[in-house]
Symmetry: C2
Subunit: 139 residues, 2 copies
């Protein structure tokens, strides 16, 4: 169930395709689950004619959530203690995103071992959409 500190070397990395061809339906599913019904994420007429975007786009926190799934797949469940991100570029329907974590440090905290990870998520054009860092317990 997840990593342990003996497995880890600084610079180790793990990556996953977290979404392949994001759909407008998945964005609307996230609106329903999170309660964030801002029309820029679901209303094509509003977003193009009023807000001035080319089409609807994903909630930053949907990208954050999908990137977080990669993190818990890597470190194991219930181990993530800190997770922070910068929203760097927008995510659009049709995007395919790859999320990557790299081991930045393995250290002691509160009497246990933790790993610090550097995170980045890129789209199919190798453009960063999200960057960040996370900390997870290892025992």
């Amino acid at each position: 169930m997840g990593l342990n500190s003996n497995d880890l070397t600084i610079g180790d990395s793990y990556s996953e395709v977290i979404v392949d061809d994001l759909t407008r339906t998945q964005i609307v599913q996230y609106a329903g689950a999170s309660g964030d019904y801002n029309p820029v994420h679901s209303d094509e007429k509003f977003v193009t004619e009023v807000a001035g975007y080319p089409t609807v786009f994903a909630h930053g926190m949907l990208t954050m959530g999908m990137t977080g799934r990669m993190l818990t797949n890597y470190v194991g469940d219930g181990r993530l203690t800190y997770y922070g991100v910068r929203f760097v570029n927008q995510v659009w329907p049709g995007d395919t995103l790859t999320a990557r974590a790299e081991v930045a440090a393995v250290r002691e905290e509160d009497g246990g071992t933790v790993v610090d990870l550097t995170i980045s998520t890129t789209n199919q054009d190798e453009k960063f959409v999200l960057t960040g860092n996370a900390t997870a317990r290892l025992d």
Copy 2:
């Protein structure tokens, strides 16, 4: 459309009830939207008989997402540039959560004005479930 720097003083705060009586259905909706189908969030038999918890519990990132909705309601859409949290305690079905943001600083960054916010989300027993910080553009 959101805050501007003239409105803000350090120590100003904003809060919202982000969920009132969280349901197991809402947790499953989040599983579907995020693709995180870990059975600890949806399978009552597994979680009680195998994993040893009293019942299913919410994804940390569902709490993070609902707290993020409070943030965008406060600062305005498309302005959040950084968002980082610590997962402090678990969130259970039936919980009612209140999320709060407090102005920690108003400063210049990359030629624009930004606000730094301190965040906390508490349950109906005034127990912290999430703490963190965020930065948002003001112009």
